[in-house]
């Protein structure tokens, strides 16, 4: 039968064939295939072709090659989409926030903003979306310590108009950031490149595969990577370019990636370091697990999906797909049963079995292991620590990246989801906010700056003058302002440094001076204006100074010098000397002259503010806060002026607002509560654990564990700070634990009483036993 098939049947066969081929192709490229492990424990040599973001082979000898793309380079063997689901990349997409972790903290010292942010839904932490931060804004703020991917690699549809992704490129997952075994891998280079908005080049530069020059941040928003270098500007607005290290490539243009399957601890610590703020590096003890030779990833494991085991109790409930139950402290050290009744053997990786001699069971029901074994020992005051992500640690170069703020305090013991006390780190948020119908909406720093204007920069009135004076060569020294017993001079950041002034300060106690060879003299020493020969040199100096000052930025008038009853000012190109009708000055003093009225260079407000803040880590005074709140009210009127709608400032655990008399008042408010997250490291050895000295490590009257103080900190210089006891965080009754602690002073007596009583009773019972035994055996009867 040779019957022709109808065309419809033919089409069906073709479609079926296409379908089968598609299935085969899909299977061949499926993640399952890529995930398969052949059982070998070696890491393959990664001599591989580099691909750019267009999936084109990179030839390092070409002109202007593109940077390598992690996605395109690693994708052939490692499913990028699967990796994107990992813990380090899924904060904006994951629906399982898990136990609270360290938030990102938006630090803006100028406006006194310390805002904890996270896309994960953690208590007390603001979602960047709610603050109007786009992925672009967020990436610019925090990419220095981000792994790339996730929010920094948005879909095209998520790119907001104000962003510059087309110039910078996306910040793909920086695989080498963790897996590069080479010591060339540089976190500082990564931070530098992302600061320059060289997102697509950052991984190449940080890995040491190539040298990257140029800055995307200086390019026009219309620039595209295909535009290549900027022919008109190779200095300022130079387009980013990469020059590969050709020694790393073979003749087939394959590059050698020195890959560590298990990342080194230093890679983790680039973003996860935490250390006491005042501690010297040599004195810092590493985690006992690290000291024993374990790597971070020995416990914090993951598969290709990069869903890392965090290791906290209850993680298995948050993420059932993880083998998390086997990696808690208790699982490795004590063993136990998993939720599916599987036996977990103790001693994993040689974990010692703790006997916990003398510890009542309640401690294990109520306390996480880390209470006794992690973080610093509790003290009367919490310890201030700095962390990589909050304080911008681990980035080295010409600029100083690390910041003092935010102040992160530890340990504070707070009940976890499983009701166990767990040591936490905490920070006190600080921010300006609009309080509308009991809803707090934080303001962005730029919004506060716009409303506050010069209120936030009183030191500029001084720094501008000092900068102008700095440019007078005839001074031959460092210009200073002597004010209220302190000498202020410019620092490298353009701010002010203060040091005590030990010289004589007759009235007025504010004058400009110059420091030469450590000796401080007045800017213009007193002279006799009536003797032209004697006055000539001083008047020439006055002319130089007035000429330098007249171009001062934001000068409110013409600079003049008043000495005795004379007024010196520049008229055209010479110094005019005229009679001064105002208050006579015993020493040459400088003023602004406006509408024939003199104004001091340093206003009383600036004087007070500079005096209060210089040399401290605080950046705001109560006076500034009051003025800013008024300014916000005037420049940004709250909509629907109902009762309770207002602007407020949060700092040091207090809410600051204007009272009915427009004066600053402080009150307690939930919005000012600290934000806390559990700490797990550094784990101390057993002999340094809490309780090793006995019950009285915690149970005594005035114990630091229960009654230590946690003091509110913040950018506002104020005495209105919240001070809480450790027990208040634990939710415990302070008097009871005081009484309970007190009982431990007589506990040794009780033990001796019990011991003596037991000896007496035991002896009598023993005698009775012997008597009964004697009678039963007839021994006593026989004797009697």
């Amino acid at each position: 039968m040779n019957q022709m098939q109808p065309p419809r049947m033919k089409n069906r066969s073709v479609l079926l064939l296409i379908f089968i081929l598609s299935v085969i192709e899909a299977w061949a490229s499926s993640p399952q295939k890529k995930l398969a492990w052949d059982g070998s424990r070696i890491t393959p040599v990664h001599q591989i072709p580099l691909k750019d973001e267009l999936n084109q082979l990179i030839v390092p000898t070409e002109s202007y090659p593109l940077p390598f793309s992690s996605r395109a380079t690693c994708e052939p063997c490692h499913d990028y989409k699967v990796i994107q689901q990992g813990l380090h990349f899924n904060e904006a997409t994951s629906t399982k926030p898990g136990r609270a972790g360290e938030p990102w903290i938006w630090v803006d010292e100028k406006t006194g903003t310390l805002l904890p942010l996270s896309y994960r839904n953690w208590k007390g932490i603001w979602n960047p979306k709610d603050l109007g931060l786009t992925p672009w804004d967020f990436t610019l703020l925090f990419a220095r310590h981000m792994t790339g991917g996730g929010i920094a690699e948005p879909e095209d549809k998520d790119m907001t108009p104000a962003s510059r992704w087309n110039v910078s490129g996306k910040l793909e997952i920086n695989c080498m950031g963790c897996h590069n075994a080479s010591q060339v891998q540089s976190h500082s280079e990564w931070a530098k490149q992302v600061l320059r908005e060289n997102f697509r080049w950052a991984a190449t530069a940080a890995s040491g595969m190539g040298e990257v020059g140029g800055m995307s941040s200086r390019l026009k928003g219309t620039w595209d990577v295909f535009d290549g270098p900027n022919p008109d500007d190779s200095e300022w607005a130079a387009a980013p370019s990469v020059r590969y290290n050709k020694n790393l490539f073979d003749s087939k243009h394959r590059a050698l990636f020195d890959i560590a399957y298990k990342p080194e601890d230093s890679r983790c610590l680039a973003c996860h370091s935490a250390a006491p703020a005042e501690m010297k590096k040599f004195n810092f003890d590493e985690d006992v697990h690290s000291a024993a030779g374990l790597k971070c990833v020995a416990c914090h494991r993951n598969d290709l999906g990069h869903a890392m085991v965090r290791g906290y109790e209850g993680e298995a409930e948050d993420n059932p797909a993880l083998p998390a139950e086997g990696f808690t402290c208790a699982a490795c050290h004590l063993g136990g049963k998993s939720s599916i009744r599987q036996t977990i053997l103790p001693g994993r990786l040689g974990a010692p079995y703790p006997l916990h001699k003398g510890f009542p069971e309640v401690h294990f029901e109520r306390l996480a292991c880390t209470v006794c074994h992690s973080g610093p020992m509790p003290a009367k005051e919490t310890v201030r620590v700095r962390t990589s992500r909050a304080n911008r640690l681990g980035i080295y170069g010409v600029a100083q990246w690390a910041t003092g703020l935010p102040a992160i305090l530890e340990p504070v013991y707070i009940r976890d989801k499983n009701k166990k006390l767990t040591p936490h780190r905490l920070m006190w948020p600080a921010y300006w906010a609009e309080l509308k119908e009991e809803k707090m909406s934080p303001l962005k720093p730029e919004e506060v700056l716009a409303a506050a204007g010069d209120i936030l920069s009183p030191e500029k009135t001084v720094t501008r003058i000092l900068t102008a004076l700095f440019n007078i060569p005839e001074l031959n020294g460092t210009p200073l302002l002597i004010m209220d017993g302190k000498a202020y001079e410019l620092n490298v950041d353009g701010g002010l440094d203060a040091s005590p002034y030990l010289g004589v300060t007759n009235k007025p106690d504010l004058f400009w001076a110059v420091k030469k060879s450590g000796k401080i003299t007045r800017l213009v020493p007193g002279f006799n204006p009536d003797v032209p020969e004697a006055a000539a040199e001083a008047e020439a100096l006055i002319q130089k100074i007035l000429e330098a000052l007249k171009n001062t930025e934001a000068a409110p008038g013409q600079p003049v010098c008043v000495y005795k009853n004379l007024l010196y000012r520049i008229v055209e190109t010479y110094v005019d000397k005229s009679e001064f009708k105002g208050e006579s000055q015993s020493q040459p003093q400088f003023f602004w002259l406006k509408d024939d009225q003199t104004q001091p260079f340093v206003t009383n407000f600036a004087r007070r503010t500079i005096g209060q803040l210089t040399g401290t880590e605080q950046t705001l005074t109560e006076g500034q806060a009051e003025l800013i709140l008024k300014s916000l009210r005037e420049k940004r009127p709250v909509n629907e002026a109902k009762d309770g709608n207002e602007y407020v400032y949060i700092s040091s655990g207090k809410l600051f607002r204007l009272d009915q008399n427009d004066k600053l008042e402080a009150k307690n408010d939930d919005a000012a509560k600290p934000v806390a997250w559990p700490l797990a490291h550094q784990v101390r050895p057993a002999r340094q654990s809490l309780g090793v000295n006995g019950c009285t490590d915690c149970h005594k009257a005035g114990s630091s564990f229960f009654f230590g103080k946690v003091t509110g900190t913040g950018p506002l210089e104020t005495k209105n700070v919240l001070v809480r006891s450790a027990s208040s965080f634990m939710g415990l009754t302070k008097p009871y634990y005081f009484l309970f602690g007190l009982s431990f002073t007589v506990r040794p007596v009780l033990k001796w009483i019990l011991f003596a009583a037991a000896i007496v009773i035991g002896s009598i019972l023993f005698l009775v036993f012997l008597l009964a035994l004697g009678r039963l055996s007839g021994l006593i009867d026989k004797r009697s």
Binding site: P354, L355, H356, K357, G358, F359, P360, E361, V362, F364, E365, G694, Y736, L739, F740, S743, R747, V749, L750, K751, I753, L754, F755, A756, A757, A758, V760, I761, G762, I764, L765, V768, L771, A772, R775, L776, D781
Partner: protein
């Protein structure tokens, strides 16, 4: 949970045993029938709660104390009784009704009164041990021991047995309490000690209840 079940069953069982003996002795017509037990129990409890019964009981206890703990030694007995009542009540109630076990001020008082209990028990033993030693006749009574023990043994022997059982349970309570306060035993050993402590407390309670029954309540004549 097991401890809770055992405690409830043991206390109820003992109470039933003691009251049922009394019921049968007082109402011989009922014989072994349990039909009239609960009405009888109800009326008996009501009679106990009467003011005159309470006064009568107080005078019985007072006479007993005067007889056996003369002079200042009555304070030893009162301390022993008061501390034991609190210890037993707080310990068992928390063990049964609180999943968390004992905590807070009750625990603080429990631990503190533990010292008083230990001292007073030791003193009571020194003071009263000679009255509870076994004599030859009682030693022979062991030969006729049969279940149920309370039926066939003399009250005197039962009291002696209960006295020493209470002392042994008290010693065990002290050792387990002390053991959990000193850093010599591992966590697992301490967990075991808490369990032993609880069961000893139960034994002490049962012996004390039986002793109370035999020592203070009018004894029915078994038929």
């Amino acid at each position: 949970m097991l401890f809770t079940i055992i405690t409830v069953l043991a206390v109820l069982g003992l109470s039933y045993r003691l009251t049922s003996l009394r019921f049968r002795a007082k109402t011989p017509a009922a014989g072994k029938k349990a039909a009239g037990y609960f009405p009888w129990l109800w009326s008996w409890m009501k009679s106990i709660l009467k003011k005159e019964t309470f006064q009568k009981g107080r005078s019985v206890v007072s006479d007993w104390i005067k007889n056996y703990y003369p002079g200042w030694t009555k304070w030893v007995f009162l301390a022993l009784a008061a501390s034991f009542v609190y210890q037993a009540a707080s310990g068992l109630l928390f063990a049964i009704f609180s999943p968390r076990g004992m905590f807070g001020v009750p625990l603080l008082v429990h631990v503190s009164l533990g010292g008083l209990f230990a001292v007073s028990l030791a003193f009571a033993l020194i003071w009263r041990a000679r009255d509870y030693r076994l004599d030859r006749q009682e030693a022979a009574a062991f030969e006729s021991m049969a279940c149920p023990v309370f039926k066939n043994l003399s009250k005197s022997l039962i009291r002696k047995f209960l006295f020493w059982a209470f002392a042994a349970a008290g010693l065990c309570l002290m050792i387990t309490a002390l053991g959990s306060m000193v850093p010599f035993f591992s966590f697992n050993a301490q967990k075991a000690m808490i369990v032993v402590h609880r069961y000893c407390a139960l034994v002490a309670l049962l012996t004390a209840l039986t002793f109370l029954d035999t020592a203070f309540l009018p004894q029915p004549q078994a038929k």
